[in-house]
């Protein structure tokens, strides 16, 4: 959610029950402003909160001119002092894949994981060893945020548009989705570089508007049914909740520009989804 409309956004996303305490809220309003100045971001998004056992991580993201350019991620434990996280790499994801369980809330905490490794020494002898791999929680944090961003960060159709020169900008003429469109998954896009779009058939691509439909829509998400879409407060608020990453809530008030997403959760993917539907 945009840091500038933080209070309204929190109010709209409150239906999931995870808000911020008044002191955190106030702290964010102050500190995100400073973050925006110090790091020279065009836009600062309050991304959410990862619940740890000892402490929680508060995450913010800074965006530049191009909305789809890699985002800078910052975290804070007290909502006041922010530290920049390194960009995520594939190596990190591979490391993270072996870590299970909850976050601790201490960036320097090290997860230990014994890996079964086969080393081939000189000649033909092979040794089978248990190697203890240590993964820092900060690494895991970076990787989880990146995964969540790629999997479930979403925007309504039309909120961003692609300029003829390539960069993606916030669409100032976006007036919100009409009610009839707001209930369809196809009106929501992944807020990331399109992956699936190239694989679509020509027939499917025929009706797309290149300046608006340049992202993947949620329609083709796997597994099917990984989103819960609900109209709340009568019909005046659409709320999408990800079931794959429980804790991610997206909200949009149809016919207004208000939209955003927030993640408040344990930072664990719901691998049991197929059983639960």
């Amino acid at each position: 959610m945009d840091s500038e409309s933080l209070l309204l956004s929190l109010e709209l996303a409150a239906g999931t029950g995870q808000g911020l305490s008044p002191d955190r809220r106030t702290a964010l309003l102050t500190s995100l402003l400073l973050v925006k100045r110090d790091y020279r971001y065009e836009r600062v998004l309050f991304w959410g909160r990862i619940l740890g056992i000892v402490a929680d991580y508060y995450i913010a993201q800074g965006l530049g001119e191009d909305q789809l350019a890699p985002r800078k991620t910052l975290y804070s434990l007290n909502c006041m002092e922010w530290s920049l996280l390194p960009p995520a790499t594939e190596e990190m994801a591979a490391q993270m894949a072996v870590v299970k369980g909850r976050f601790m809330g201490d960036p320097s905490h090290e997860y230990e994981h014994t890996e079964f490794q086969r080393t081939t020494a000189e000649g033909e002898k092979t040794f089978e060893d248990d190697v203890v791999v240590q993964v820092k929680e900060e690494t895991r944090l970076v990787s989880v945020i990146d995964q969540i961003d790629k999997a479930v960060a979403i925007i309504p159709r039309g909120a961003l548009f692609k300029t003829p020169f390539g960069p993606v900008h916030v669409n100032r003429t976006f007036e919100g989705l009409p009610l009839s469109e707001a209930r369809k998954l196809s009106s929501y896009f992944h807020f990331r570089e399109p992956v699936d779009l190239k694989n679509r058939t020509l027939l499917e691509k025929a009706d797309l508007d290149p300046s608006l439909d340049f992202l993947d829509s949620l329609e083709n998400d796997i597994p099917k049914g990984s989103w819960s879409i609900q109209m709340e407060r009568g019909n005046s608020l659409v709320v999408l909740r990800s079931l794959l990453w429980p804790g991610l809530t997206f909200f949009h008030t149809p016919r207004t520009r208000n939209h955003g997403y927030i993640y408040v959760g344990t930072g664990e993917k719901n691998m049991d989804l197929p059983f639960m539907l």
């Binding site: 109010e11 409150a14 239906g15 999931t16 029950g17 995870q18 808000g19 911020l20 305490s21 008044p22 002191d23 955190r24 702290a27 619940l51 056992i53 000892v54 007290n78 299970k100 369980g101 909850r102 548009f161 003829p164 900008h169 669409n171 100032r172 003429t173 009610l179 009839s180 300046s211 049914g225 819960s228 609900q230 109209m231 407060r233 009568g234 019909n235 005046s236 909740r241 079931l243 429980p246 959760g265 344990t266 691998m271 049991d272 059983f275 639960m276 539907l277």
Partner: protein, 642 residues
């Protein structure tokens, strides 16, 4: 001619505005227009002819003139060089210039009907050239697209009208979108009222329902009644707890909480409620559940029991009639005796739960929970849909529909996460001495009148200052253990099936759970994850902070305490946390229906050698039977032949 156009850029921009308005059909004849149009028939036909019908159809003359008047003053402002020039530099410029040049040409022909000092006079020949050029250009622009039936001229003028009406900043950046929006506007259906109504219906419906909640209180006017109502209050102070939970960073937002508050009031007004509590909210795929925990006044909860008895009786009837009709072979398998469900007001059925999808919608009472449902609920992991009558498709099969599953999960969550500060509750004294309680653990408690509160810091630092005040549910699915064996034997005697008796264990070990009011520090860890996380609500101002407890076992379960007060709350998807991935239980081994023996076991086909040997043996016996006295030589011969 070029200098004339460029020198008076400012004026031209004004003209653009006017021209746009005229051709856009927004304004009909302005005050100035008629004069210049009269003398120039050549230019006029081009300009006027396509516009006339449009004008006539679009607006009454009065409204047109009123519009023109209203537009009078802004035309002066429109000449602002900043915005105008930048616009002129971009793509839409050429058409603008041309259309803008048109009125000037007309004005010139009017013989200076309007004095314009800045406009230079041009020669007659130049004028004519310009006129022709303008006419051609305009003709081109007015050409109607064969596909869409629109002309660029109309489109551009509509666009410029929109821009000038709305005056967005840096319009050049969004000119593409504006163009698109203008085009889209052609397709927007002019919905008639009926369709409109339909689309908005649910919004109004819920608003109407919620209005009723607000009006409920006003109906009883008398002060006497109000006093009575306040005296016998069963309504919890939801807003106060919501305030504390907000300090903890949990909560549904003020509006929704207040709506729930009103809905609870409606519930307590319409039902005989002793005590009521806002239990929490469970998220579903389609709708959510708002859950109220209610203690019904004594003697007023019999209806449900009767209903269920009737239902059971019906089931029994059905079973008998089926048996009469067709006698099926009876399996030896006898299901283990069902563990009876706990009576209302005890154990898992201590409270009654009401749910609604949204505050304002009717409250639905959940059926009481059976041990079988709790046992199965432990083995499955499902999302709620939000429809109470939805079937639960799972393995192992869940006995009941979603309302039963919801009730089972509520019971499990309550048992796991309802905690209170140590000393807030104490055991009731009278019941503690009874013999039954010695066996099952004491199951009743009351509020401790002498409770003085615990320091908030102590509550945060030590989990042993918190206790469970809901009974632990045993693996059996009950809070108090039920011994299934004695009854089992009786049934066996009735059915006269004594063989099986030996297989059954004579004695089942009694399941024992932690007693009531056990400190939560004794809760089990889940793979190095402690079951609870405690926190002070604010680190900035710790003096007035409250203690917050978050369950790691049931994500979404929270408790707070200010030292004296406390409250529990659940908001989440309604499933238990597990580190490892869920795996459905393995199906049980296939039940053996009969004892396996040689007479029903399939045998291997005999090999050729075996067959020959067998035949030899058979014939040998035949021969032996036929002529016992034959010599050994014959037998040898026979065997050689075969």
């Amino acid at each position: 001619m070029e200098d004339s156009t460029s020198s008076s850029q400012e004026k031209e921009n004004q003209q653009v505005g006017e021209a746009v308005r005229l051709s856009g059909g927004r304004a009909a004849a302005s005050a100035r227009d008629p004069a210049p149009q009269q003398p120039g028939p050549g230019a006029r036909q081009d300009f006027g002819a396509p516009q006339q019908p449009g004008r006539a159809s679009r607006g009454a003359p009065e409204s047109g003139s009123a519009r023109a008047d209203a537009l009078g003053p802004p035309t002066g402002e429109r000449g602002l060089p900043g915005g105008g020039r930048r616009e002129a530099g971009s793509a839409p410029r050429p058409p603008c210039r041309r259309s803008g040049a048109l009125p000037r040409a007309q004005e010139l022909r009017a013989g200076g009907a309007q004095e314009r000092s800045a406009a230079p006079r041009a020669s007659q020949a130049g004028c004519r050239e310009l006129e022709v050029a303008v006419r051609n250009a305009k003709g081109y622009l007015l050409r109607v697209s064969s596909k869409t039936g629109l002309s660029l001229y109309d489109h551009l003028s509509n666009m410029l009208t929109k821009i000038l009406d709305e005056r967005p900043e840096n319009a050049v950046d969004i000119i593409e979108n504006i163009s698109q929006n203008v085009k889209m506007a052609h397709f927007s259906k002019k919905l008639d009222t009926l369709q409109n109504e339909n689309e908005m219906l649910p919004t109004y419906e819920i608003a109407e329902r919620q209005k009723a909640l607000f009006l409920l209180g006003h109906l009883e006017g008398a002060d006497q009644e109000l006093e009575d109502e306040i005296a016998e209050n069963s309504l919890p102070n939801v807003m106060e707890s919501a305030f504390y939970f907000e300090q903890a960073g949990v909560g549904l937002g003020t509006e929704e909480t207040y709506r729930i508050f009103l809905a609870l009031k409606q519930l307590t007004d319409t039902h005989p409620v002793q005590k009521c509590r806002f239990w929490g909210k469970i998220l579903g795929l389609e709708k959510n559940y708002v859950i109220a925990e209610v203690e019904i006044r004594e003697g007023e909860e019999d209806e449900e029991v009767e209903e269920e008895d009737v239902a059971e009786a019906e089931e029994r009837d059905n079973g008998e009639s089926d048996a009469d009709r067709d006698e099926l072979p009876r399996p030896f398998y006898k299901p283990p005796q069902a563990v009876p469900k706990e009576e209302t007001r005890t154990g898992t059925n201590k409270y009654v739960y009401f749910v609604c999808n949204e505050p304002g919608r009717p409250w639905v009472k959940l059926p009481s929970v059976t041990p079988a449902q709790i046992v199965t609920a432990r083995k499955i992991k499902k999302f709620f849909t939000g429809r109470l009558d939805a079937p639960i498709i799972s393995y192992p099969p869940f006995p009941g529909n979603e309302s039963n599953y919801l009730r089972a999960q509520i019971a499990r969550i309550s048992a796991g996460t309802h905690v209170s500060p140590l000393g807030f509750y104490q055991f009731g004294e009278e019941e503690g001495e009874e013999e039954e309680d010695v066996e099952s653990g004491r199951d009743s408690f009351e509020e401790n009148p002498d409770f003085e509160g615990i320091q908030v810091l102590d509550l945060v630092e030590s989990l042993s200052n918190w206790v469970h005040h809901v009974q632990h549910i045993l693996p059996q699915g009950r809070c108090t253990w039920f011994n299934p064996i004695p009854k089992h034997e009786e049934e066996e005697e009735e059915n006269e099936e004594k063989e099986e008796k030996g297989e059954e264990p004579d004695y089942l070990e009694q399941e024992i759970g932690p007693p009531l009011l056990t400190p939560i520090s004794e809760d089990l860890e889940i793979l190095n994850t402690p079951a609870w996380t405690t926190r002070l609500s604010s680190s900035v101002i710790p003096q007035y902070a409250i203690a917050v407890l978050r369950s790691n076992l049931w994500p979404g379960a929270y408790a707070f305490s200010t030292g004296k007060k406390f409250e529990n709350f659940y908001i989440g998807w309604g499933y238990k946390y597990s580190v490892d991935n869920y795996a459905p239980p393995v199906p049980p081994p296939v039940y053996q229906e009969y004892s396996s023996g040689p007479e029903i076991t399939e045998m291997d086909d005999p090999s050729v050698e075996e067959e020959q040997a067998f035949r030899a043996a058979q014939e040998a016996t035949e021969h032996a039977a036929q002529d016992n006295e034959e010599s050994e030589e014959d037998e040898d011969d026979n065997s050689e032949y075969h």
